[in-house]
Symmetry: C2
Subunit: 339 residues, 2 copies
C-alpha cells in the first residue's frame, strides 16, 4: 500500500534558498514510506535504524521543514506531543482517535465542513483550518476483533469520490429523463434530452473507472466510508427529481430545479477536487466539477432564453419564481436558521 512512487516535485516544494541534502532526503523518504501518524520520536527510531549518525535535532528540523514544504502536517491528539501525517496527496481530514490502542482513523465529512463554515460565518470569523477529533474506543478494541488494516485514504477517497459521482450521474439521468417528459417547450425538451444522454455516457466511463479501482484492492468495497456526505448517497439530483414530481412544475421551474442541483453538485466536486493533492480522486472530482459547470451554464443560458421567449410571445410574465414548493421553503428556512 505504501507507495514508494517518486515524489515528483519535491524540489518544487522546497522553500527558496535551501540545499539538497542526502540526510534530509533519507528522513523525508522514511517518513513518506510510513503510513499513519508518527511522533517525532517514532521517526527518530526509524531513522536511527537506517543511519546511526543522524541526530535527533536533525529529525526535528527536517520535520519542521517538511511542514513548511507542505509534505507533512502536524497533528495534535492531545497526548502532550505532536504527531505528523502525510500532507502530500492527502486532503485535510478529521480523526477518530482510539484511547485504548492509540490508533487513529481518518474521515472526511462534507456535511460537518459546511456546518463549520456556517458557524464561522455567523461569527464573522475567518476560518483557516478546522480540527474535528472524536475520542473514544474503536471497534477492534471494544469487540476484541482483529484490527482490520486500513486501506490508504487516497484509495478510499477515490472510491468515495467515484461512488458519489456515479450516484450523481444516475440521479441526474433520472432527473433529466423525467424532465424530458415534463417540459412543454420543444427546445427545453431538446436540452433535457441532451443532458440526459450526456449523463448516460459519463456514467459508463465512471463505472469503468470504479471497476478499475476495485482491481487495485479487492477488499476496497468492504472498507468503511471515508467521505461522508448525506446528500450524495442517492445522488445530488434525487431531491430535484422529487421536486419535479410535484404538480404545477412548469418549464421554468424545471430549469430552476436543474440549476440548483447542478450548482450544488458543482460546488461539492470543486471543493474536494481542489483540496486533494494530485490523485485519482482529485482527477474525478475536478473533471466532474467542470462538467457540472458546463451544464450549469447551459441551463442558465437556456433558462434566460426561455424567459425571454415567453415574454416575447406574451406568455404569463414571470419575474420571480411565482411558487415555491416544500423543498424551496425548507431550504429558505434552513438558510435562516443557520444564522
Amino acid at each position: 500500500m505504501a507507495s514508494t512512487a517518486a515524489i515528483p516535485d519535491l524540489d518544487r516544494l522546497r522553500p527558496a534558498g535551501t540545499k539538497r541534502s542526502s540526510k534530509r532526503d533519507l528522513i523525508v523518504n522514511v517518513f513518506l514510506k510510513q503510513e499513519g501518524h508518527l511522533s517525532a520520536d517514532d521517526l527518530v527510531v526509524l531513522i536511527k535504524r537506517a543511519d546511526q549518525r543522524i541526530s535527533r535535532a536533525t529529525v526535528y528540523r527536517t520535520l519542521q521543514w517538511m511542514e513548511e514544504a507542505g509534505i507533512a502536517r502536524k497533528v495534535d491528539f492531545g497526548e502532550g506531543r505532536f504527531r505528523f501525517e502525510h500532507s502530500y496527496r492527502h486532503p485535510r481530514h478529521f480523526h477518530l482517535i482510539c484511547k485504548t490502542c492509540n490508533r487513529s482513523y481518518e474521515f472526511l465529512s462534507s456535511d460537518i465542513e459546511s456546518l463549520v463554515e456556517e458557524v464561522a460565518a455567523a461569527r464573522a470569523f475567518t476560518a483557516r483550518q478546522s480540527v474535528v477529533q472524536i475520542y473514544g474506543t474503536c471497534d477492534a478494541c471494544s469487540t476484541g476483533h482483529a484490527p482490520e488494516e486500513s486501506s490508504n485514504s487516497e484509495l478510499l477517497f477515490a472510491r468515495d469520490a467515484l461512488r458519489i459521482a456515479i450516484a450523481t450521474e444516475r440521479s441526474g439521468m433520472e432527473f433529466y429523463g423525467r424532465g424530458v417528459k415534463l417540459v412543454k417547450d420543444p427546445r427545453a425538451r431538446e436540452i433535457f434530452r441532451k443532458l440526459a444522454t450526456e449523463e448516460v455516457h459519463h456514467l459508463t466511463t465512471l463505472e469503468a473507472r470504479y471497476e478499475e479501482l476495485l482491481r487495485q484492492d479487492p477488499l476496497l468495497e468492504s472498507r468503511p466510508t471515508f467521505l461522508f456526505f448525506k446528500g450524495a448517497a442517492n445522488g445530488l439530483f434525487a431531491a430535484g427529481t422529487d421536486q419535479l414530481r410535484r404538480d404545477g412544475v412548469d418549464d421554468l421551474e424545471a430549469y430552476r430545479i436543474g440549476i440548483r442541483c447542478e450548482r450544488g453538485s458543482h460546488r461539492f466536486f470543486k471543493r474536494y477536487g481542489e483540496r486533494f493533492e494530485d490523485s485519482e480522486g482529485k482527477q474525478v472530482f475536478l473533471e466532474f466539477a467542470e462538467e457540472e459547470r458546463e451544464h450549469l451554464e447551459l441551463l442558465i443560458r437556456e433558462y434566460r432564453a426561455l424567459v425571454k421567449r415567453q415574454r416575447d410571445t406574451g406568455h404569463k410574465p414571470l419575474g420571480a419564481p411565482k411558487r415555491q414548493g416544500a423543498g424551496g421553503r425548507a431550504k429558505a428556512r434552513a438558510r435562516a436558521a443557520s444564522r
Copy 2:
C-alpha cells in the same frame, strides 16, 4: 459577569477521602472568578498575586484535582500546553480560536454533534468525547474593531434554549391548530385541541422567562448565536406543519407526524438538558423534554387507540403507513446516506 456566587456543592464534588484546605480553596476560587481559558501558568501568576507562598506544584496539583472533581476541563488549543476552562455550569462545547489575539469563542452545534455521532456509529466507534476547533482570525482582529466582550455562555445558553423552546411552542401551536381542522375523528380532534391549548399556555410562560432573562443583560439579544441548531429556528414542528399541508393526510398520518415531531423535540431538549450543569438553561430544557415526553406518550396511546377503533369499525385496515410523502422519503434517504 463573573459570578462570585457561592459554589453550592463543591463539597459534594470533592472526591472521597480528601481534606479541606484553604490554599486549594483559594486556587479554586481564583480560577472560578476568571472567565475564559487559563493556562496553568496564567493561574500561577494570579495565585502568586494573592499569596506569594503558594507554589507552582500546588497549582498544578489543584488543577488536576479540579479536573477530577468536574470543576475544570482541560482543553488543548495546540499551543503545546493545556488550558483550563470552567466545567461547572458549563456544557461541553466547541471552540473558535483566533490565532491573532489568542482569544477563543465558544459555541454549541446540535447539528455537528449529530453528524459526529453518525460518523462514529458508521465506524462502530464508541465516542466518549469530541473536539471541534476552528482556527483562524476573529472578527475583532480582522476588522480592527473593538473586541466586544462576550457574555458568559451560561446566559447565552439559556437565551438560545428559550428561543428554541419558544419557536418550538409556536410551531407546535400552529401544528396542532392545523391538526384540529384536519382530523376527522372527534376524539383525535379533541386531543389536538388540547395539545394546541397547552402549547399556547406554555408559550406565555416561556416568553415571560425570556423577558426576565433579557433583564439580566440588556445586550443579550444582540450577542451572537451560541447554540446552533438548524431545525429549530422555525420550531421543530414546522416541517410537520408542512407535511400536514399535503393532501391525503388522514388522522393516523397526522398522529404519526405529530409523534415524529414530538420525538425529535424531546430528544433535542433532553440531550442538552442533561449535559448542562445546573442552570436556567438546563431547567428550561429538562422541563421541556419532560413535557414533550408526555405529549409523545399521549400521541402514541391515542394513535394506537385510533388504529384499534378503526379496525373494529371495519375501517380500511392500516398496518404500516400506506403512503409516505416527500418528507418521509427524504428522511429515509438521509438515513440510508448517513451510513
